[in-house]
Amino acid sequence: MELVFAAAIGVLAGSGIYLLLRPRTFQVIMGLALLGYAVNLFIFGMGRLRSGAAPVLDPALGADPALYADPVPQALVLTAIVIGFATTALFLVVLLASRGLTGTDHVDGREPERE
């Protein structure tokens, strides 16, 4: 489980970073989304992986921390997901505005000279 989880993060992050280094704005926005998944999973993983132990208290079992998954990384990631959405939206709009103003979707706002 841990190995698959780690590999998943690696693949998501690798694809994301590759895309972030590309010249077209749409590639960058996709890269940001992928890297976002990787980072969220990474932070979430810091609470260690557990199945069937959601941090919703069961009054019958009591509040023994050992019985539940770590709630703190989950709280962090939950807000990160929402903020990630906001960032994506903002970036998308900046991208559109830049495209409208400069006439290109290159990240630098101008086509590079052909070498």
Binding site: M1, E2, V4, F5, A6, A7, A8, I9, G10, V11, A13, G14, S15, I17, Y18, L19, L20, L21, R22, R24, F26, M30, A33, F42, F44, G45, M46, G47, R48, R50, S51, A54, P55, L57, D58, A63, D64, P65, D70, P71, V72, Q74, A75, V77, T79, I81, V82, I83, A86, A89, L90, L92, V93, L95, L96, A97, R99, G100, L101, D108
Partner: protein
């Protein structure tokens, strides 16, 4: 208490002055004058207390954790300075009332003037070195604003910038210096520092601290080689020159040197740094003053020279010299301010300050001329005036200097030379302006100004004469109070008298007078335009040159170190991040931990096989197949959501899932505006070798980073978890938060403030998106309808027929059936979203998820029904949702304050209501409702803003078609 009032009054006055209308010249002057006068009276009223108790103190805790207090401290020296600042301020305000033209925007002038007065009082009353440095910088800022008062003039702007650069940089050095000093002395309050002479002077950092503090003081007091800013500061209105640049602000430097004299003085280093700078300034300033053509220029350089004299006295390491320095600070302030006032009057009445053009004004303005003559005589050191006394003390100190022989001979000679210069420029100032044939080509016919304008100058000149004749009677007490405060018990005995008998200092005075007159007669009848010998040394040119060189160096360095290209920057970011994590891993190795791993179920492996393929495919396809890439990235997101479900994070899974939907719709709406990129065109032109190399490099970097992150994750996951703060939250969620869903309790209760910040950010982003899109102009080739839509529309008649009918009960055409379904869905979705919201505290759900569900349902209406139709049937006010949500969350927080608890503490009410039965109400629910509303408002606002772009393009198209 009085101390605080004295300090606060000018700042309050400054605020009031800024708010008065721009033509309220009299009201402004009355306000400023009253403030200054009351402050002066308050200072004066403290005299008995200061004389009896020695030091008055007021302490207000500032940063108690750091041992810093806001500490006001008034001893005799500070008292005398405070009196000078407030008293001189009162006189200058009276003068300024008549000097400023009715066209000048006076609120700005008096506002900064009073702010400066407050800042200057802050310097002298500070009992804490850091606090003093703060006020120090404040005076630099006020001076900047006042020099640039007539900001339409280039010389004013330039002079202000130069003054700020020089004194601001000096202030920075001073801050460093006092930090070192406080560290050495073991405290930043003045009492500790002043008592730590031995510790400080034997400390290894003493030279550095001294150099930095001297740098601050010398730049502020315009000492050589930093003197050049002061003549350029003369672009300020003359009242400013009289007040800031001769009487008070430039004295801050020497004030500081005198203040710290007991701690820092007494060493050879002090003698050479402070004394050396003072002597150089005294002589060079006096020499340059002789050749100035502008009345204010003469006064500026003479101020520099006199400040040099004070600095030199302070640098001589003798208590008597210190007494002379303090005495001269006040004498100089009186005669120089009145001379500046005279220069301003001449400028005001004749329209010029040029010494070449002015002549014979005595006949037209005898009172001004007489006042200026007396003040100039005091400046030259003529007996029976106050300038003579302190200069005589200076001469005698140079003679009795306790130094090696050559210095004992050189110093009196230099002092006499400087005295000659002083006589020569004073004589020239008076002789050229007021005597000789009456000038015929002046811009205005000269006449005496109104009496009120003469009054301040008259009072100052009277002071010069009275002090000059009866020194002991007039200022003896006050001077002793000030010097005793600095020197403590070791104050030397001295007598203030006009006649000390026939001695060497008297002979030096006579030599200076005679020599100065001879110098003027012999060489300066016709002053040349340039300064002989020193014309090549132009401080302004050096300053401009070094600034230019610095800017060039910085831009070259910037060009070397950075790139304006995003790809290069991101490459550097990821390269550095990779290197930074790789280095310690290579150095210490990275081993797996011992925590037992769990076997992966085949389904989980399969899930991530799909997820990984999706991610890689996105990377591969994002350039030419945007829609495919978007769908594939959704696949990776789905895998992520399922992982959350699998690994006990239902809240995350729900949120991720709903965010996925909204993000996909958002980007789909944006795709329309991106340029077409056809793969088969690109195929025609083959990639260059460089482009291939670049891609390979990026693949290598991305692969290494991904691998590194995977290894790091695995290394962490095989180690046991840390003893973090999580157990606390789990244990206390129910007793303290009253909820079973710990994640939700953390978000809305334990860490409610974070969440409050987060929803605020969400709101700001939504507003930014909205604002950016209001001015959106699509690229021209994106305006026509996409091919698919055009073909689809072809069967539906003309453009006008296709326009949706806002009044129809359902959208016409092939979307009618889905529209019925989606309309039915809306109330259901509303109930589901409320269900998630309300149960969130005890089960997976909450405001975020609920809000996103409702937003998705609303979006569906738009997608299926079309913007025009939906908006004619459904009144959505996303901005209202957004603001109401924020207010609700804030109200939940503030409500706690009403109950006496800290911000955002949860408050619950439990009771029985008729008909409803048992009811549990909590402020947390209100908070979560706020979150819910903000999420709905922000999401809908952003998506609608993008969706409307198509509509706008549509309108544009129709408008263009009708022409």
């Amino acid at each position: 208490m009085t101390l605080i009032l004295i300090l606060l009054l000018p700042f309050l006055g400054s605020l009031c002055a800024a708010l008065l209308p721009s033509n309220a010249r009299n009201a402004e002057a009355w306000l400023a004058g009253t403030v200054a006068f009351v402050a002066a009276a308050l200072v004066a009223s403290l005299y008995p207390q200061v004389a009896a108790e020695g030091v008055l103190r007021v302490t207000i805790p500032w940063m108690p954790a750091l041992g810093l207090d806001f500490y006001l401290r008034m001893d005799g020296f500070a008292w005398l300075f405070a009196l000078l600042i407030t008293g001189m301020g009162t006189l200058v305000v009276v003068y300024a009332r008549y000097y400023m033209s009715p066209d000048d925007p006076v609120p700005r002038f008096f506002s900064f003037f009073l702010a400066f007065m407050g800042a200057m009082l802050g310097i002298v009353l500070s009992g804490n070195l850091i606090q003093m440095a703060m006020f120090w910088e404040l005076t630099s800022l006020a001076s900047f604003m006042l020099i640039a008062y007539w900001h339409h003039r280039a010389d004013a702007r330039q002079g202000a910038r130069m003054a700020l650069t020089v004194t601001g940089a000096g202030g920075l050095a001073l801050l460093g210096g006092v930090l070192l000093l406080g560290h050495m002395a073991g405290g930043y309050d003045l009492d500790t520092v002043l008592a730590a002479r031995e510790t400080v002077q034997t400390h290894a950092w003493y030279p550095l601290a001294l150099a930095l503090i001297a740098l601050g003081a010398l730049t502020k007091s315009a000492q050589f080689p930093f003197h050049f800013w002061l003549p350029h500061a003369m672009a300020a209105p003359t009242p400013v020159s009289a007040y800031l640049h001769s009487a008070t602000m430039v004295k801050a430097g020497v004030f500081l040197l005198a203040r710290l004299w007991p701690v820092l003085a007494g060493t050879d280093l002090w003698f050479w740094i402070v004394g050396g700078a003072g002597l150089a300034t005294l002589v060079i300033g006096g020499y340059l003053a002789i050749f100035q053509q502008d009345m204010k220029g003469v006064l500026a350089y003479s101020t520099i020279s006199h400040l040099g004299l004070i600095t030199l006295l302070l640098g001589m390491n003798s208590p008597l010299a210190l007494v002379a320095a303090v005495f001269h600070i006040f004498n100089h302030a009186t005669f120089k301010a009145s001379l500046f006032m005279a220069a301003g009057i001449v400028d005001h009445e004749t329209g010029t300050r040029n010494l070449q053009r002015l002549s014979g004004l005595y006949r037209a303005m005898p009172i001004t001329a007489t006042l200026a003559m007396v003040a100039a005589a005091a400046m030259a050191g003529v007996p029976l005036l106050n300038g003579f006394l302190s200069k005589e003390m200076f001469f005698s100190e140079t003679v009795f200097l306790d130094r090696p022989d050559w210095q004992r001979i050189a110093l009196p000679l230099m002092a006499t030379l400087a005295g000659m210069f002083s006589v020569a420029y004073s004589l020239r100032f008076i002789h050229q302006v007021f005597f000789g044939p009456p000038a015929s080509d002046l811009p205005h016919a000269p006449h005496e100004p109104t009496r009120w304008m003469l009054l301040p100058s008259m009072l100052l000149v009277t002071a010069c004469v009275l002090v000059g004749i009866f020194p002991e009677l007039t200022v003896g007490l006050f001077l002793r109070l000030a010097t005793d405060a600095i020197l403590g018990g070791e104050a030397p005995h001295y007598s203030l008298a006009v006649w000390h008998g026939l001695n060497l200092p008297l002979f030096m005075s006579v030599a200076a007078l005679v020599g100065g007159i001879a110098l003027y007669r012999a060489f300066l009848w016709r002053a040349s335009e340039t300064v002989p010998l020193l014309e090549r040394i132009d401080g302004k040119r050096l300053f401009d040159g070094s600034l230019l060189a610095l800017t060039r160096f910085a831009s070259r360095l910037l060009a070397r170190l950075t790139s304006t290209r995003l790809q290069t920057q991101l490459l550097a970011v990821f390269g550095v991040a990779l290197g930074g994590t790789l280095l310690p891993a290579l150095e210490h190795g990275l081993a797996w931990g011992t925590r037992p791993t769990t076997p992966a179920p085949p389904a989980f492996v399969l899930l991530w096989l799909v997820g990984a393929v999706c991610a890689l495919a996105v990377a591969w396809q994002a350039k030419y197949h945007r829609l495919a890439a978007l769908i594939l990235s959704g696949g990776a997101g789905l895998a992520t959501s399922l992982t959350f479900v699998w690994l006990s994070a239902p809240d995350l899974a729900l949120t991720q899932l709903t965010v996925e939907v909204v993000t996909a719709v958002l980007i789909l709406l944006g795709l329309r505006w991106l340029p077409r990129r056809e793969e088969h065109y690109a195929r025609l032109q083959r990639d260059t070798a460089r482009a291939r190399m670049r891609r390979l490099r990026d693949i290598a970097l991305a692969a290494t980073s991904g691998l590194g992150l995977a290894v790091l994750t695995y290394a962490v996951l095989t180690r046991p978890g840390p003893d973090g703060i999580s157990p606390y939250f789990v244990e206390h969620a129910l007793p303290l938060g009253g909820g079973l869903n710990v994640v939700n309790v953390i978000l809305v209760d334990f860490r409610g403030f974070d969440t409050f910040g987060e929803i605020t950010v969400l709101g700001i982003v939504a507003l930014t998106v909205y604002a950016l899109l209001r001015r959106f102009r699509p690229a021209p080739e994106s305006i026509p309808l996409p091919n698919q839509q055009r073909e689809q529309d072809a069967g539906l008649g003309s453009e006008a027929e296709r326009m949706p009918d806002p009044a129809a009960a359902l959208p016409a055409g092939h979307m009618m059936l889905p529209a019925v379904l989606v309309r039915l869905l809306l109330p259901l979705a509303l109930i589901v979203s409320l269900y998630f919201l309300l149960r969130g505290h005890n089960a997976p759900g909450g405001g975020f998820v609920g809000g996103l569900v409702l937003a998705t349902a609303l979006l569906l209406q738009y997608i299926v029904g079309g913007t025009v139709w939906v908006e004619s049937h459904l009144r959505l006010h996303p901005l209202t949702w957004l603001s109401t949500g924020l207010l609700a969350a804030a109200a939940a927080g503030v409500g706690a304050g009403l109950a006496g608890a800290p911000f955002l503490t949860s408050q619950a009410w439990h009771g029985t209501v008729p008909l409803f039965g048992d009811l549990h109400l909590s402020s947390v629910l209100l908070f979560d409702v706020g979150v819910y509303m903000v999420v709905v408002g922000a999401t809908v606002l952003m998506l609608i803003a993008i969706a409307h772009q198509s509509l706008r393009a549509h309108h544009t198209r129709i408008r263009e078609g009708s022409h």
